[in-house]
Amino acid sequence: MTDELFKQMAQSIIDGDADAATQLAEQAIQGGLDPLEAITKGFVVGVNFVGQQFAEGEAFLPELVMAGEAMKAAVKTLEPEMMKRGAEREVLGKVVLATVEGDIHEIGKSLVGTMLTAAGFEVFDLGVDASPHKIIAKAIEVNADIIAMSALLTTTMVKQREVIDDLEKEGLRSRFKVMVGGAPITRDWVSRISADGYSEDAIGAVNIAKQLVAAG
């Protein structure tokens, strides 16, 4: 019976069906199932499957994004029950993600967010045009492991440096790993601003993030 439920959970993610995922999560709670088990044995199996298909070029971006949305819906439904039981979902790390101030390019940043979430990171997406202050305040608030910044303009990439400088000034630099990306970002820039990681695409971003949390 539970096995069947787990299967349905995985399938709801594969179908990118947030409504079904929510419903199955509610069913799990009513049935007294351990919410963490619902996640790891049910929903995550679906996420991994879609991720694998995507990596092999079988699934496309919208399927990945919809799987991510369905996963979010499931976790959100299960969260109150987890709180009640004092259980915490294991995440690879917490990432505060934003497109920097003055910049409204959103797609690349959001894809990085989707991939990080799918890989098991908890992502706090501040959207676009986020000021250094806002980024740093959020990182402190959620006790982030990584600050990830996207900049697509040569006029706004300086904001990545500003955040790093501000962290330095406030004595916070060693507390967070900083990774950056976007069209004008080059290796040279990354070393000039002393960021910790950089990638040219979203899949690479996941690898970098994993390395950064492993390096602790």
Binding site: L61, P62, I107, T154, A183
Partner: protein
């Protein structure tokens, strides 16, 4: 060096990509989107304009919803024809629907160095070099600021860039790198100086502005403020949608056209409400995002169709179009670059898009290549030739020459041949040599194109900008820099 500008005119080829019925449906969908869903205008000034004209405004989210009548009425005051002025009036560009002009592409972030061939960050000197080569290239009718002068402070970078182009070319300048109110103000002041005063600038706009919309259904605040200032000064201004199927637009092409159209039309209407009769243009570079990684493709069949469809829309609104063609996603001048840039440019030309952007980029509008610039110029020349079609008349039917040669023989020694041989296209960069010659050299179009760019850069002397005038431009930029610190 010739001051001639090569443009496509009096076209002999035609293409039907949308029926009048299709256009109507897209227009109706557009009005419905603007009225029901709304468009985001994150600028106080723009919101004021809408409020004064009775549009419905959600102040918190800065979303405007406007009735179809308001939009249609506002669009009525768009001037259908006007001229982009050049420093040299011989190089003025009438946007009259009967010309297709090509420009350089704009705002690149890296350059393949013309001397070393190494890819590096773009600088002000690159802007100067590209402007100089473009000045000597007849296929280039106007400039976009080609790459970003990253060695200049980011707040005034856009000003350094236009000064560098005016200093190295007499052709019209269009910029997409002025997108804040303060920079626009200074840019207008600089343009007034070049034109000889504010009133003269209105008559002879030597500068035009291109602003991106923020798909889906939004705009950038700085861009809106800059556009409003430009429209007030009589500087032609266009909004460019880059709606991409899958990410910033629906997966279907018609839906993507409607989303982009709603952005452009709403912003254009806003400019007209603020400054009726201001010269405006429609600008677009829609595409489809890559299914696997979401990348901006800058090519592919959808791109080519958008290139053809958009001018039909711009014609419906009776405003000129600036269409993104060229701008391949290829990483070097290769098969993909040739294919994408030829088809996109051909499709956009077939429907007589007024301006085509632009020559010189690789990697989806990011990396400037001097070789690609020259190769793109040749693509434009080929399309130019094709658009002349096949003239059929007594002279071209050549009956006399045919009778003189008779069965067998050849036409090489005929007077008729001599009179018309120069009608045939003479490529600069196509390899038609014997195989063994190629085998011994293994060079190709890319090498020849780069050689040509280097030669133009070394030899071409553009008509200089008056030194006192240039000093004035420099003064404006310096004052702007001082005010900012």
């Amino acid at each position: 060096m010739s001051k001639n500008i090569k443009s496509i005119t009096n076209p002999k080829l035609q293409l039907k990509v949308l029926t009048p019925e299709d256009v109507r449906k897209i227009h109706d969908a557009t009005l419905q989107i603007i009225e029901k869903v709304g468009v985001r205008f994150p600028s106080q000034r723009a919101l004021e304009v809408w409020a004064e004209n009775g549009a419905e405004i959600d102040r918190d989210r800065m979303i405007v919803r406007a009735r179809p009548e308001l939009i249609e009425q506002a669009l009525d005051s768009c001037p259908p024809f006007y001229t982009l002025a050049a420093r040299n009036p011989q190089q003025d560009l009438p946007l009259d629907g009967n010309h297709v002009y090509a420009g350089t592409d704009g705002c690149g972030v890296e350059v393949i160095d013309i001397h070393t061939g190494v890819k590096r960050t773009s600088e002000l000197q690159d802007v100067r070099d590209i402007a100089r080569i473009a000045d000597a290239t007849e296929e280039v009718a106007f400039h976009w600021v080609p790459v970003s002068a990253q060695d200049k402070p980011h707040q005034t970078r856009g000003l350094h860039e236009i000064r560098a182009i005016w200093g190295n070319s007499t052709k019209h300048v269009q910029t997409e790198s002025v997108y804040s109110e303060h920079e626009a103000r200074a840019a207008i002041e600089m343009a007034s100086l070049i034109a000889g005063g504010k009133d003269q600038l209105r008559k002879r706009p030597v500068l035009s502005l291109m602003q991106c919309t923020a798909s889906p259904l939004g705009h950038d605040g700085g861009s809106l403020d800059a556009a409003l200032l430009a429209a007030e000064a009589g500087i032609p201004t266009g909004f460019m949608t880059m709606a991409a199927c899958l990410t910033t637009g629906p997966a279907t092409m018609a839906g993507n056209l409607a989303v982009g159209n709603a952005e452009v039309i709403a912003a254009t209407a806003m400019l007209q409400l603020a400054h009726p009769g201001a010269p405006v243009f429609y600008a677009a570079a829609q595409t489809a995002s890559d299914l696997r990684n979401g990348a901006y493709t800058g090519g592919g069949p959808e791109d080519f169709l958008f290139g053809a469809a958009t001018n039909v829309l711009a014609d419906y609104y009776n405003i000129p179009l600036s269409m993104g063609s060229f701008a391949t996603g290829a990483k070097e001048p290769n098969w993909q670059a040739g294919l994408e840039n030829s088809l996109s440019t051909f499709m956009a030309s077939l429907v007589m898009s007024d301006m085509l952007l632009g020559l010189g980029f690789l990697h989806g509008s990011r990396i400037w290549s001097f070789a690609e610039m020259m190769l793109d110029a040749e693509i434009f020349s080929i399309v130019h030739k094709m658009m002349q079609g096949i003239p059929v008349n007594a002279e071209t039917l050549a009956l006399e020459a045919i009778a003189a040669v008779g069965p067998g023989g050849n036409f090489l020694s005929q007077k008729h041949t001599r009179a018309h041989m120069r009608d045939l296209f003479l490529p600069q960069f196509m390899d038609r040599r014997p195989y063994t010659e190629w085998e011994s050299k293994k060079d190709d179009a890319r090498d020849w194109a780069l050689t040509k760019a280097r030669k133009l850069l070394a030899e071409h002397q553009p008509d200089p900008l008056d030194a006192a005038l240039d000093a004035e431009l420099e003064r404006i930029i310096a004052a702007e820099e001082k005010a900012l610190v």
